[in-house]
């Protein structure tokens, strides 16, 4: 399980208060063959908000997200989530603690149906172990039935009910995105890490995904989102963190950022 926090006093993040950050990074670094993709990034992600992470290509946004989720190890620095130091905690334990990510390229389980994709990410299924599979069949079935109600509601909300039994690999790109977002939601995230959720998605669907994200935020889910499309960031994100060459260039609302010449020069121009 998660290790107790041994973080220094200035880098602690404790849950409970709305103003206390849910996620904190301190001097986070990632080096690939001598190249510093992320170079000493310190950010706070506060609960109940959609925080945007923007920047030009190669700024280190996706690497940052991967380090937060634990799918890429950090070279140095510290990550605190929900008051605990998770820097060396493996990805699956971070997910179980509520730090759940989606991927830039859709990563649905192709040879599983949409409903199975949703059910598989629910934590705490009594049938999700070897002994549970052999000896807790009834409990697992009951658990599945309950989760099917939740999954049914999500499918309904995302207008995917008619695809419940479709193999995820047979869906369109936009539908796969939805499956991935629904699957992440089924994992009961405290913090949802989204890597370009609108990329390659029909504009109409992008608007819908945005509406869903606002609904999620209002329901109390915290989101950290990497996004290229600034109009989307404008609508959804507050605050916005700008990364450039692996470092934090600026942070604030989009209006604030537009007034900063260096940010405009680095990224917003055009």
């Amino acid at each position: 399980m998660l290790t107790a926090s041994d973080a220094p006093a200035e880098a602690t993040a404790s849950p409970g208060s709305l103003d206390e950050p849910l996620l904190v990074t301190r001097n986070l670094e990632r080096t690939f063959s001598g190249v510093r993709a992320v170079d000493g990034v310190s950010i706070d992600v506060r609960p109940g908000r959609i925080t945007g992470l923007i920047g030009p290509n190669g700024a280190g946004k996706s690497t940052m997200l991967a380090m937060l989720a634990g799918t890429t190890p950090s070279t140095s620095g510290q990550i605190l989530f929900d008051g605990r130091d998770v820097t060396r905690v493996p990805a699956f334990e971070r997910a179980r603690a509520g730090l759940v990510r989606t991927f830039q390229l859709s990563s649905e389980f192709k040879r599983m149906t949409v409903l199975e994709n949703l059910l598989v990410s629910v934590p705490g299924n009594p049938g999700d172990s070897l002994t549970g599979a052999l000896f807790a069949r009834r409990k697992a079935k009951k658990f599945d039935r309950e989760q099917l109600l939740v999954a049914g509601e999500l499918l309904e909300r995302f207008r995917m009910t008619s695809h419940a039994d479709t193999y995820a690999g047979a869906l369109s790109g936009g539908q796969r995105r939805l499956v991935e977002i629904m699957r992440a939601l089924m994992a009961r995230p405290k913090l949802l890490l989204l890597d370009e959720p609108m990329a390659g998605v029909h504009p109409r669907l992008a608007i819908e995904i945005g509406e869903h994200l606002i609904a999620l935020k209002e329901a109390g889910t915290t989101v950290l989102m990497v996004e290229h499309e600034l109009s989307i960031v404008d609508q959804l994100c507050d605050p916005v963190i700008v990364l450039a060459e692996g470092r934090v260039l600026a942070e604030g609302t989009m209006a604030d950022l537009r007034s900063q010449q260096d940010v405009v020069d680095a990224y917003l121009i055009g």
Binding site: R101, D128, L155, E211
Partner: protein, 336 residues
């Protein structure tokens, strides 16, 4: 029915049971969990050796013409239980080899190399299991009580072997149709993502290697109890390729398909080729069997990669509430 025909049939069906059981174990690993285990035959070999040395008397018996460890002369079923345990134990180092840090294709090669290494080692290190000559005079279960050469014994042996296959089928089915099986299939489809939604893939892979190892070990015990001998030439690395071919042909991820494949490839196909009259230089026909096995794998991978009996689609929509809650947001549909 003549004794000759009965002997032929019991032999064929016992071999079928052994291959079906091995295919069920390998299918759980390769078909359901996505672990390309090119070293699966090791588990069967270890199971056979352990069942042999647990049931045989000390190596001074029979004039001491064989050298081997163990020789505990244990009664049935302990040698078979020992074989299953040994199959599971030998899977532990395999599991450590294929931890996530090793790419799956490298891991497959590592397992193949391990199979080659172990075969060469057993072949050349005589004190362990009598080297290349192998072990002979392995007692059949209850051979002290019944005449293991009698026709009725052979029939009961075959029926018991098929019963065990049924039992193993139920176990692997329980696993693959459970929420745990769902997680295994998620690991097969995309391991990184499975980790990102909270699955401990290292632990899952190790567990399935252990379970598959135990099944492989049991299949080895079943085989050695019937043929009463076991040698390195019986478990060279291409034997795993035959099992993988059976699964690809039968239907990867489908347990019935895996058993069907076992009946078609190692049993049916190799049995049919026995009736081809010998032609060309000696050894040509057996060599051609391997060629045709290879072509069979390629043909199915090309034309019908899902196999004859494809993996069943788990349809769960019928369990959804009939009328869902009204959509909360938006009004348009998704693009398709």
């Amino acid at each position: 029915m003549s004794n000759g025909t009965l002997y032929y049939l019991t032999t064929i069906f016992t071999y079928a049971a052994v291959d079906m059981m091995a295919c069920l174990g390998l299918n759980l690993q390769f078909g359901v969990s996505g672990i390309t285990n090119f070293g699966f035959i090791i588990y069967q070999a270890v199971g056979a050796y352990v069942a042999a040395v647990l049931s045989m008397p000390g190596d001074a018996a029979n004039g001491g013409f064989q050298t081997y460890i163990g020789g505990l002369h244990m009664p049935f079923p302990f040698p078979w239980i020992g074989a299953a345990l040994a199959g599971a134990i030998i899977a532990v180092p395999t599991g450590l080899v294929v931890r996530r840090s090793l790419r799956p294709d490298y891991a497959a090669v590592a397992m193949l190399v391990t199979a080659v290494f172990l075969n060469t080692f057993v072949n050349n290190f005589r004190p362990l299991f009598n080297g290349a000559a192998g072990l002979a005079l392995v007692p059949a279960p209850f051979s002290g009580i019944f005449n293991s050469q009698s026709a009725s014994y052979q029939v009961y042996y075959t029926l018991f072997a098929l019963f065990l296959v049924g039992l193993v089928y139920l176990v692997v089915r329980l696993i693959s149709e459970s929420p745990y099986g769902r997680s295994l299939r998620a690991m097969r489809d995309d391991e990184l993502t499975a980790g990102a939604i909270g699955k401990n893939t290292d632990k899952m892979r190790m567990t399935i290697l252990l379970v598959g190892g135990a099944i492989g070990g049991l299949s080895g015990a079943m085989l050695v109890g019937f043929i009463n001998l076991w040698a390195p030439s019986a478990w060279t690395y291409p034997e795993t390729i035959v099992l993988i071919a059976a699964i690809i042909v039968g239907g990867r991820g489908n347990h019935v398909g895996a058993m069907f494949g076992a009946l078609l490839v190692p049993v049916g196909f190799l049995e049919v080729t026995r009736y081809i009259p010998p032609f060309g230089p000696p050894g040509l026909v057996p060599a051609l069997e391997w060629v045709v096995t290879g072509i069979l794998i390629l043909a199915f991978l090309w034309a019908r990669p899902e196999g004859i009996l494809r993996e069943r689609r788990r349809r769960l929509a019928k369990f959804l509430p009939v009328q869902g809650p009204p959509p909360l947001l938006g009004s348009s549909g998704v693009d398709s």
